[in-house]
């Protein structure tokens, strides 16, 4: 079966522009997560969606970051007025249920802000 997919795989943008990153979780997975990995760092939690519950946004680094999950499936992470420090790999993961710990990751979107 298909794994988690993300698009675009690479994105180069100019400072100040907005970007949208997309995640398609594994079919049937109710939990969806966004992480980012900056150069030389571990993965940093950003936001978590579970079903129809209010998302856990505790990891979003600033109000320039937002995410939506429509219809309990596809998610979009939006970064407004991008800054150079936003350059990172943005990873999406999904899991079957919040009680099941294993998260399955997509290949990531490599964002470069010039």
């Amino acid at each position: 079966g298909a794994g988690v997919s993300q698009s675009p795989s690479n994105k180069v943008t100019e400072k100040g522009k907005d970007v949208e990153l997309r995640c398609d979780p594994i079919s049937g997975h109710t939990a969806l997560y966004w992480y980012r990995q900056s150069l030389g760092q571990g993965l940093e939690f950003l936001i978590y969606f579970q079903g129809n519950s209010a998302p856990d946004k505790s990891g979003l680094p600033s109000d320039r970051f937002s995410a939506e999950r429509t219809g309990g499936s596809v998610s979009t992470l939006t970064i407004q007025r991008t800054q150079q420090e936003d350059s990172a790999v943005y990873l999406c993961a999904s899991s079957l249920d919040s009680g099941v710990k294993t998260q399955y990751f997509g290949p990531g979107t490599r964002l470069l802000v010039l």
Partner: protein, 112 residues
Amino acid sequence: DQQVKQNSPSLSVQEGRISILNCDYTNSMFDYFLWYKKYPAEGPTFLISISSIKDKNEDGRFTVFLNKSAKHLSLHIVPSQPGDSAVYFCATQRGGSEKLVFGKGTKLTVNP
């Protein structure tokens, strides 16, 4: 302040030998621990996990050991194979929280 530390950024071993990757954590509330493997240009792949009620979990060539009193876990790979060459991330989870807290990773190179 890093809650999960992988103090060795890299490790090199010979094929057939044992690879030991280490991870230390600071928060005693963490109760679930995972190892992920990551190849370049790919997302992390789940490898093995352990709950805090256990001190060892084994899956084929991979064994994870947990020492709760020392807040330390390790991943043993034996025998190591060249295909094991990747970056290994330790991740932890606290009961009631869905987010994973990751270390910075250890790059393992297994030489033929």
